[in-house]
Symmetry: C2
Subunit: 690 residues, 2 copies
C-alpha cells in the first residue's frame, strides 16, 4: 500500500553522479566517442564504424523535440504517436478529430504536411573548440557572451553558406568543454502517414505515464518529402516483426534533450529551491485550468487534449526531478563527487593554477540567479504563457530589429543559420484556438501580477489598469496573427510594418520589448556568462582527471546509448521485461483512460495475444529521445522508445542501472496491429514485412 | 523590478529560532505566563491582572478557525469579514448573493444563524501535566497513544460533566511539555449582524493578500445568542473611533492556529521535502480547476468564491513556508539553535541521562513518515478532497462505531466532550453545492490514483473499475446527505442504519473505513507516538536550559502578543505604518479585484479621506488570529487583525521583528464607513460612538 510513484523519491540514492567514469550501460554517447570496446566486453557484440554510420544515417531529429528513424527506402519514418500528436491536432477540426479517431492514409496523396516540422539527419561532425574558446578568451560578462555568439554565428553561416539543403549548428558539449559543428541534411516537408487513436497510443493516460507494465501503441509514421516527392532514402533501418528477447543487447539512437548531470551542487540547489518549485506550482495550476476547461464541452475537450498531455507529462518529469533533488542522500552523493574532483584538482598544482576556483564562481552567480529569476522568468522566459499569438508577435517584433543588424550582433535565435527554421515555424499554416489562447494569456498575466506583485513596474507596464482576464479576452479576440498572410506581411514589412501595426498583440510585444530585453541581458551577463566561463574550466579539470571516459550532458543532439532488454526489482517486487497484447485487454475498464478504441475492442479475437506489446531496456535515455529507434546488434529496429519508468525520472541528474529503464513499443505488436486492426498492407509491404 | 512576493524567500534569515529566549515583541504568550515586566521595560506600560482578565473575558475563539472579541454589553462581536464569509455564502443563494452585496440588518430579527459556528470564551486554565504524562509513562507506540487519549478524554469529560454551557479541552503545550485544561464558556447560537461587500472586504484580492499597503474593510459583526435572546456580556472591550498612533503599544488577543517553531530539524526537513511540496502541488491544481470553474457562469462564480479564496489564501501561506525552508541560511540557523540546545544538555550529565537522544528518535521516525505519507494523506488525512458530503458520510460511519465504545477507547474526535460540537456541525442546515462536490471528488479521486498509482490496492478499493470523473458525478448526484434530516436519521440510527443505508456516499465511506483506519493507526503508531514521546523530553530539556522565557508553539488556544504600530524597511524601501481611505480611491481601477463596491464609489465625496484605513504593528501572530482585537494599553479596540505582511509568511518557523508585521483594519475607518456608507446608526450607538 505504498506509492510506486512517490517511490521515485527514495529510489535515486544509487544514481551515478557527474564527472566520474560511467557505470555499466550508463551514458548518452556521441557518435564520435562511442565506447565500443566496453560494449564488446559487456555484451560480446561488435559495433563497428559501418554499423555506426548506418545507424547515424537513418537517425532523425525532429525539430519539435523528438527523435525518429528512417525505415524504408522511400522516406518512411518511425516515431512516437506523442511526437506527432501536435501535428494530428493541427490537422483536425471540429468536424474531423484525427486525435480521437486516428489518421490513416490509403495513398500518398492523403499524406498531409505537419506544420512547423522539420526533420534533420546528422551528416558531419567538426571540432571547432579552439575557434570558439579563443573568441571569448580574456573577456567577461556581456562582452564574453557577444564574442562567443558572434564566433558561433560566423562558423554556422560559413559552414552552410553553399548548402541550402543543410542546417549547421555549433553545439556546446561538456558544458563548454568542447564545441562541435554539427551539419545536418534537412527535410522541411514532413508529412503524416499513420497515427493510431489517442486511446490506443496513450492507453492508461497520465496515471500510467512513466509507469510499467504498459500497453501503448505509442508509434506513428511520417514521410520525408523532397520537391513534393517522397524522399529517396537508401540509408534506412530494417524493420523486424520478431519480438525482442530478454537479455538481447539494445542500442538507442536519438536526441536526448537535456540533462544536468554535470551541474555543480550550487546550480542543483538553485534548481531544487527555486526554479523547479516555481515551475511546478505554476504548471499545476495551469493543468487544473486545462482539465476544467476540457470538461466544458466536446470541442473544448478536443482542443485541450494535446496541451493537457504536454502539461501533465512535464509535470511528472519535474515531479521526479524535484523529489530526486529533495532526497538528502542523493545530494550528499553529488557533494561527495564534487569534493572528489576538487581534491584531485588540488593535488595537481599546474591544473589548480590553470582553472582557479570555478565552483566558487558558479556559487557566487547564484545570488544574481535568485535575485533576477522571477522577473526574468515571467517577462522573458515564459512570456505569453504558451500563447501562439504572443509567440508570433514577439518573434515578429524582434526579427524586425535583429535582421537589420550584422549577423554577429544579433540575438542568437535570429542569426542567419537559424532563420530558415524560424521563418518556417512562423509562416506555416497552423490553427489557433482562441479559447485556449485566452486561457494561456489570462494565466500568464495573472501569475505575473501575483509573482511580481501589483506594484512592480513590469506588472504595471504589462497590465496598465486592465485586469488579466479582460486583457486576455481582448488580445485573444482582437489579434489577427492567426492568419499566416498577416504574419508574412509583418515579417516582410520589417520595422516600419511593426510600428504601423494596430494588432493588439504586436502592440503588447512592442511595449514589453525593452523591459524584457533588459531582463534578458542582465540574466545573460550576471548569471549565464560567469557560469559559462567557470563551467568551461570545470570541464577542463574533468578531462584532465577522467579523460574521455565521460560523456557530455545531453544537448538535443544525436547520441547512442547501449543496454539490454531487462526488467528490474524494487523493494522486493520484480517487474518483468515485457507485456503482451493480452495484458491490454485485462487492464481495459471501458472508462477513460482505460477505454479501448472501438477497432481494438472489436479485434480482440483476431489478434495473437501472446505477442510482446511493450518492453523495457537498460538504455540511458531522457526526454527528446522519444521516438528513437531501439536497434539490435544486427541493425534491426525492435521498437520505438517512448518513455522511461518511474525511477528514470531522476535521470536528469544521474543514471542507476539497477532501476532506470527505457520503455519501448515493439515493432512486433505494431506489425500485428497494422496487419489485423488497421489493415495497412501497403505500409507493411514497404517495411518489407511478408 | 524584483519580486516583493518572492523576496519573502530571502527575507527570513534573521528569524529568531526555536527554543532560545524570545526577541523583543516575539511570542504568542499564554495568559498565565505573559511577560508583563518585559513589556513594562520596553514600552513603559503596565499590563496588570485586571487588564488581562478583562481582555481574556472579551476574547472569543470561533470554531471555524478564527478569533473575535465582544464589543458591546449585548453580545456584539467584532471579527473579520473573511472569518464569516463561509456563513455569508451559506446564507446566500442564486437569488440573493450576500457575498457580493454585503449583509445588513435593520433589526435583531434579521440577524441570521451561522451554520456550524460556535463561539467560545476562555474561563479557566488548570494544569493537568502530571496526570496526562503519568498515563503514558513507560509505554510506546499505540499503547502510548491510547493511554494518553484515554486520560485526556477522562479529564475533559469530568471537568465539564455538570456544565452544559461549557466546553472542556486538554491542550498540549510546548509539544507535550505541559498539558493544560482549558475551560470555555460556549455559545452555540451565533448570528450574522453585519458584513460588507466582498469587493470592499477583500479589495485587492489575492494579488494584494499578504502584501501592504492595503485597503480592506475586512471586518464584520456577529452576535452571541442565549435562549434565543442576545447574550448579556458585561465583559466587553471599548470601541474607539480614534486612529492609532505610530509607536503606540498594541496587544493582540486571539487564537493563533499553529506554529512549528519548536520542531526539530528532521521534522522541518520532512515538511520541506515532502509534505509542503505535495500539498502545494495539489493545491495549485485545485486552484486552477476552481478558477476555470468559476469562469463558466454567474452561479459558478458565486458558489466558488469562498472556496477559491480559501485555496488561494492557503497557497500563499505555504508558498511563504516552502521558500523559508528552502532558504539555506534559515535552515542553518535552525541547525545551529538545535546544536546549541543539544550541547547545553550534554554539558549537564543528569539532564542527559534523563532525556537521552530524543532528536535522534525523531529523526528515525522520518523514515516511516516518508514511507507512509502519501497513502495516509490521500486515503485518510485529505479523504474526500473537500467534499462536504464525504465528510458527513465518514463522520456518520465512524460515529456509529465509536459511540458504542467506552469514552477512553474512542478515536479522539468522538470522545464525549467533543460530541456536542461534532453533532452541531453535522446537523446544522447548510447548503451543499453539487457542482462543487463533483469537482472536489473528481479531484481527490484522480489525485489519489495518480499519487498511489492505478495498481495500488487502496486505489483499486477506492475506484474499482470506475473512472474518477464518473464516480464523482455518480456520488455528487446520488447522495442525499445534503438533507439534514437524512443525516439526523443516520446519526440516531447508529450502526444498523449505516449498514442498511443505500446512500452511495455512506457506502463509499464504509468500504474505505477499514483501510483508512489501518493507515491512520500505522501513522499514529510509527510516526506520531515516537515523535510525541521524544518531543516531551526535548521540551523538558528546553525548560531546564531556558526556563519559562520561552512560549509554546501555537495550538489554536488563547494567546496574547505585544508590539507597537510601526512600518518597516526592506532592501532600502520604507513602508509606512498606515494607509488612508484616500489610498483606496487611488488604487481602484474599476476591474476586479480593484473594483469598488457601488456604495463606496458613490460615497467618495462624503468621506473623510484622511482617516487611517489599514495599519501594521509588530505583533507576532499567525493564521487563526484573524479577527483578533488589536487593543491598546487602555483596553480600547483599535482594530481587527486580518493579515500578516509578506515577510510574516515564514512566521510558522520564526519571528523577525525587523520585518514581520500584523495587518489591521482600523475601528476609525470602520466607524466612518458604518456612519456614512452603511448608515448603521443603531450599531454605532451600541458601540458607544456618538
Amino acid at each position: 500500500m505504498k506509492s510506486v510513484f512517490f517511490a521515485a523519491a527514495s529510489g535515486v540514492v544509487l544514481l551515478a553522479v557527474s564527472g566520474a567514469p560511467a557505470q555499466a550501460d550508463e551514458g548518452m554517447w556521441t557518435f564520435d566517442n562511442f565506447p565500443a570496446a566496453k560494449v564488446k566486453s559487456a555484451y560480446g557484440v561488435d559495433i563497428d564504424q559501418a554499423w555506426l554510420d548506418r545507424v547515424r544515417g537513418a537517425s532523425i531529429r525532429l525539430t519539435n523535440g523528438c527523435s525518429a528513424s528512417v525505415v524504408s527506402p522511400e522516406g518512411l519514418v518511425l516515431t512516437n504517436h506523442h511526437c506527432v500528436v501536435d501535428c494530428v491536432q493541427a490537422l483536425s477540426s471540429g468536424e474531423k478529430d484525427y486525435v480521437q479517431d486516428g489518421f490513416l492514409t490509403d495513398s500518398r496523396e492523403e499524406e498531409l504536411k505537419c506544420p512547423g516540422q522539420q526533420a534533420e539527419i546528422l551528416a558531419e561532425i567538426v571540432d571547432v573548440t579552439q575557434t570558439v574558446q579563443a573568441a571569448g578568451a580574456g573577456l567577461t560578462g556581456q562582452a564574453f557572451n557577444r564574442a562567443r555568439d558572434a564566433s558561433v554565428a560566423q562558423i554556422e553561416q560559413e559552414a552552410c553558406a553553399n548548402d541550402a539543403g543543410y542546417r549547421c549548428q555549433v553545439v556546446s558539449l561538456y558544458r563548454g568543454g568542447q564545441y562541435k559543428l554539427y551539419k545536418y541534411r534537412r527535410y522541411d516537408d514532413v508529412r503524416l502517414v499513420f497515427a493510431p487513436e489517442f486511446a490506443t497510443a496513450f492507453f492508461g493516460g497520465d496515471p500510467d505515464n512513466f509507469n510499467f507494465p504498459r500497453f501503448n501503441l505509442d508509434m506513428a509514421f511520417l514521410r520525408l518529402y523532397e520537391g513534393d516527392q517522397p524522399a529517396v532514402t537508401p540509408d534506412h533501418l530494417t524493420w523486424t516483426a520478431r519480438a525482442p528477447q530478454e537479455g538481447e543487447p539494445t542500442f538507442v539512437s536519438g536526441n536526448p534533450g537535456s540533462t544536468s548531470r554535470l551541474l555543480t551542487v550550487a546550480q542543483l540547489e538553485s534548481q531544487r529551491d527555486l526554479a523547479i518549485p516555481v515551475g511546478q506550482l505554476q504548471r499545476s495550476e495551469l493543468r487544473g485550468r486545462l482539465i476544467q476547461f476540457s470538461q466544458q464541452g466536446v470541442e473544448e475537450k478536443r482542443i485541450a487534449t494535446d496541451p493537457l498531455f504536454g502539461v501533465e507529462n512535464s509535470f511528472k518529469v519535474f515531479f521526479g526531478r524535484q523529489f530526486a533533488l529533495n532526497d538528502p542522500s542523493f545530494m550528499a552523493a553529488k557533494r561527495a563527487a564534487e569534493a572528489e574532483l576538487k581534491q584531485r584538482v588540488l593535488a595537481n598544482r599546474a591544473l589548480t593554477r590553470e582553472i582557479g576556483d570555478p565552483w566558487g564562481e558558479i556559487e557566487a552567480a547564484q545570488a544574481a540567479y535568485a535575485e533576477q529569476y522571477m522577473a526574468y522568468r515571467q517577462i522573458e522566459a515564459v512570456a505569453g504563457g504558451g500563447s501562439s499569438l504572443y509567440g508570433y508577435a514577439r518573434t515578429l517584433v524582434r526579427a524586425a530589429q535583429e535582421r537589420n543588424k550584422p549577423n554577429g550582433e544579433r540575438l542568437s535565435e535570429f542569426t542567419e543559420a537559424r532563420l530558415p527554421l524560424l521563418e518556417k515555424r512562423l509562416l506555416d499554416v497552423r490553427p489557433v484556438d482562441r479559447p485556449l489562447e485566452e486561457l494561456y494569456l489570462a494565466f500568464w498575466l495573472s501569475k505575473t501580477r501575483e509573482y511580481l506583485t501589483t506594484d512592480d513596474p513590469a506588472t504595471q507596464l504589462l497590465l496598465g489598469r486592465e485586469s488579466p482576464e479582460a486583457m486576455a479576452a481582448r488580445l485573444a479576440a482582437g489579434s489577427r496573427l492567426d492568419d499566416p498572410a498577416v504574419r508574412k506581411a509583418l515579417w516582410e514589412g520589417g520595422q516600419a510594418a511593426i510600428e504601423a501595426s494596430n494588432d493588439p498583440m504586436i502592440q503588447l510585444a512592442l511595449r514589453m520589448d525593452s523591459t524584457a530585453r533588459g531582463l534578458r541581458e542582465a540574466w545573460e551577463t550576471e548569471v549565464e556568462a560567469p557560469t559559462a566561463r567557470a563551467a568551461e574550466r570545470i570541464a577542463r579539470a574533468r578531462f584532465a582527471v577522467y579523460g574521455d571516459q565521460v560523456y557530455p550532458d545531453a544537448t538535443f543532439t544525436l547520441r547512442l546509448s547501449y543496454g539490454q532488454v531487462q526488467g528490474w526489482t524494487h523493494r522486493g517486487r520484480t517487474i518483468p521485461a515485457a507485456t503482451t497484447l493480452a495484458g491490454l485487454y485485462e487492464r481495459a475498464t471501458g472508462a477513460e483512460p482505460y477505454a479501448l478504441a472501438p477497432a481494438w475492442a472489436a479485434a480482440k479475437d483476431d489478434l495473437d495475444l501472446s505477442i510482446t506489446y511493450n518492453f523495457v531496456t537498460t538504455n540511458d535515455i531522457i526526454g527528446g529521445n522519444s521516438g528513437s529507434p531501439v536497434v539490435n546488434a544486427q541493425g534491426e529496429v525492435l521498437g520505438a522508445a517512448f518513455d522511461g519508468n518511474i525511477h528514470s525520472l531522476g535521470g536528469d541528474y544521474g543514471y542507476d542501472g539497477a532501476l532506470n529503464r527505457t520503455v519501448v513499443v515493439s515493432t512486433a505488436a505494431a506489425t500485428e496491429a497494422m496487419r489485423k486492426i488497421y489493415r495497412r498492407d501497403a505500409l507493411l509491404a514497404e517495411l518489407g514485412v511478408r
